[in-house]
Subunit: 204 residues, 2 copies
């Protein structure tokens, strides 16, 4: 997903519509919250019809994903930089999980809306999308690396454990822990890091 949601090869009017829609959505979401703004209203304020709106963004979740574009880019850039640097694989993994919690914190409303739109037929979009697949690849990659370095127990299922660690930071649970249970971000991250520590080879 490019910055600003730009897409190669779009006609000029299409680019303009996309820009207007994203602008209207961003403003309305800020004013009244993501949940209480309807797609019709976004179209009306943006000055485009429903057909146009839905041609650009398949559904509200896709629109929210596009709005997240820049944040995601920044998150991924920082992550790639940091993960490419020195340090143990497990150390970098722990850092990454903390960074992901911060990303949750900073983008909770849009992330929630993305999740809400991914039900029924669109259930798989929750996980089969470039963002989640990127997260998964990073975590699984670090786990494999840690395994090769002998940092963690051999025989661990990197892919499956990656899904588990990421599930611990899914937006629903995160918001429940933060808002309902009033856990701090630090507590959540520390706990998850203690689980990661359990992957280490015993007695070392």
């Amino acid at each position: 997903m490019g910055v600003g949601g730009a897409v190669r090869g779009e006609r000029r009017d299409a680019v303009e519509s996309r820009r207007k829609v994203l602008g209207a959505a961003r403003r309305l979401f800020e004013e009244r919250g993501v949940d209480s703004v309807s797609m019709h209203e976004i179209g009306r304020v943006a000055g485009v019809g429903q057909g146009t709106l839905y041609r650009r963004f398949e559904h509200k979740g896709a629109l929210c994903s596009a709005l997240l574009g820049e944040e995601i880019e920044a998150f991924q850039d920082e992550s790639r930089r940091r993960i490419g640097s020195r340090g143990t694989a497990l150390g970098r993994l722990k850092w990454f999980l903390g960074r992901l919690a911060k990303f949750n914190e900073e983008n909770a409303p849009l992330l929630g809306a993305v999740r809400d739109a991914a039900g029924g037929d669109r259930r798989i979009e929750m996980h089969r999308n470039p963002f989640y697949e990127g997260l998964r690849e990073i975590v699984a990659g670090l786990l494999r690396e840690a395994s090769e370095e002998g940092e963690i127990r051999p025989g661990l299922d990197a892919e499956c454990v990656a899904d588990t660690l990421l599930a611990a930071l899914n937006i629903d649970l995160y918001l429940y822990q933060r808002r309902e249970l009033e856990m701090t971000r630090e507590r959540i991250v520390d706990s998850l890091r203690s689980v990661v520590d359990g992957l280490r080879v015993p007695g070392e």
Copy 2:
């Protein structure tokens, strides 16, 4: 949630409406799948109006929860029995996680529908409900017990780790792993159990 969704103190016609709705829903869901049956259709087939339908069941998710009632009861009974029996706390925890995966497997469509209905304003219902709270209490309880017995590292955050272990079996991820990634249930459960093993005290 009582068997059959019965509720104390309901008027006779209310009980009858509830029964008719649950019966119609069960049949329609079986015939055509949960997602492609509308609430209006359930009302029509059950022979009750919309007002009645929504008075009995606040939303489609609540209706699906009620349909899950007996399954949940059986699951909880078996769990309580087994968890009250002998064995290490960690061993019982591992059994429980496997049993929960089986519960997911057997009730995927309804669980998915319950999740779908829990968005926006109803986000917290995903976790703040008797079923999830029961799961959480069981897992956290076993972790505390394991901690007291010296089976697992001291200082672990039982509540937070419980949420993490349960998140690994949330229905969205579970269906993604099973259907998209084509992982077996055994693989998923084994992986999670290996994470649980990481909680043990080192070198024992």
